[in-house]
C-alpha cells in the first residue's frame, strides 16, 4: 500500500513537472515579445524560446538596437540566457540625381516612346512601351539604385 501511494505521488510529481515545463517557454516568449514590441526600434525581432534560452533573430537598424534587444530580453523573468543572432541592416543607398539621370537616359535610349524623369532619386516613367519590353526596361532601371520607380507606362 505504501509503495502504491509513493508511486502515485511520484507519478503526480512527474506529470506536474512536465506539464509545468511546457507552457513556460511559451509564457516567456509572450513576455519577451511584449517587452520588445514596446520599443519601436526593435521592430523586426523574432523570438524563439527553448528551455528558457531565448534566441533572437531578425534585422535591426544598428548596434544600439541589437544591444537593447538583448538587455530587454534578459530582464524578462524566466529567461536563462539569450542567443543574440540579430543582424544589422545597412540603409539603402540611393544614387545621386546627376548620375541617375545619365544612367536612366542610357537605359531608355532604345525606347523612343518612353519618357523618363528623375527627381530626388525617384524615376518616373511615362509614355508607351510594348508589353514584352517592360520587364527588360524595369530590370535595367532597378539596377541603377533609384529610391523609387514610379511607372506610369501604358503597355501595348
Amino acid at each position: 500500500m505504501k509503495i502504491i501511494k509513493s508511486l502515485a505521488l511520484m507519478a503526480l510529481i512527474t506529470s506536474t513537472f512536465f506539464i509545468g515545463c511546457k507552457p513556460k517557454d511559451a509564457d516567456i516568449k509572450i513576455a519577451v515579445e511584449k517587452s520588445i514590441s514596446a520599443l519601436p526600434n526593435l521592430t523586426g525581432t523574432t523570438v524563439d524560446v527553448k528551455d528558457g534560452i531565448v534566441t533572437l533573430t531578425g534585422q535591426l537598424k544598428d548596434d544600439n538596437a541589437k544591444g537593447l534587444a538583448e538587455t530587454t530580453t534578459k530582464a524578462v523573468k524566466g529567461v536563462k540566457s539569450v542567443v543574440n543572432n540579430l543582424s544589422i541592416t545597412t540603409p539603402v543607398l540611393v544614387a545621386v540625381d546627376d548620375l541617375l539621370t545619365k544612367a536612366v537616359n542610357d537605359a531608355v535610349k532604345d525606347y523612343p516612346t518612353v519618357v523618363a524623369n528623375v527627381k530626388d532619386g525617384i524615376i518616373s516613367l511615362t509614355g508607351k512601351i510594348k508589353k514584352e519590353a517592360l520587364p527588360k526596361l524595369m530590370m535595367a532601371i532597378s539596377a541603377l539604385k533609384p529610391k523609387k520607380i514610379n511607372n506610369q507606362l501604358t503597355t501595348n
Binding site: V92, P135, K148
Partner: protein, 140 residues
C-alpha cells in the same frame, strides 16, 4: 511589415532559388530586394513572380535589384540586341561618341566589367570600347 507580406512569395522564391547575398530591406514604404542570381533564368523567374504580384510593376513599392553572377573566367560575349547592330562607344554612356559597331549575334571579347551597366569589349577587328551590358550575353 505589410509590404514584406505582399512580396513574401517573391522573397521565399529568392531564398529557395539560392540567391546569394540576399538582402531584403524596407525603407520609407518601399521594399528593396538585392542579391545575385546563379543564372539569368532564375532572375527572369523572380521578375515573373514580381509581375504576377504587381501587374505591370505599377505600385512603385518595390526595387528588385538582382544581378546575374558571371564567372570571372568568361571572356566572350554574344550581342543579343533585338535585331540591330550594337554601338561600341568611347566611354561608358550614350553621350559618348560611337567608335564602332558589333553585329547582332556576333561573339566578341569581353575585356572588363568594372562598370555594371557598360562593359568594355573588343571586336575581332580590334576595335575597343564600351557596350550596354543588357545587350551582351556571356558565352560559356
Amino acid at each position: 511589415m505589410a509590404l514584406q507580406d505582399k512580396y513574401k512569395q517573391l522573397t521565399d522564391a529568392a531564398s529557395a532559388a539560392g540567391i546569394s547575398d540576399l538582402i531584403v530591406r524596407e525603407q520609407d514604404g518601399i521594399l528593396y530586394i538585392d542579391g545575385t542570381a546563379p543564372s539569368g533564368a532564375i532572375k527572369d523567374q523572380l521578375w515573373d513572380i514580381y509581375n504576377s504580384i504587381d501587374p505591370n510593376f505599377s505600385s512603385g513599392d518595390l526595387i528588385l535589384n538582382v544581378n546575374v553572377s558571371i564567372d570571372a573566367s568568361v571572356t566572350k560575349v554574344k550581342v543579343v540586341t533585338e535585331n540591330s547592330n550594337l554601338n561600341i562607344r568611347k566611354g561608358p554612356g550614350t553621350d559618348q561618341p560611337i567608335v564602332g559597331k558589333a553585329a547582332h549575334g556576333e561573339v566578341i571579347t569581353l575585356v572588363n566589367r568594372s562598370n555594371e551597366q557598360w562593359w568594355l569589349v573588343r571586336t575581332k577587328d580590334n576595335e575597343e570600347g564600351y557596350c550596354y551590358a543588357q545587350y551582351l550575353s556571356p558565352e560559356a
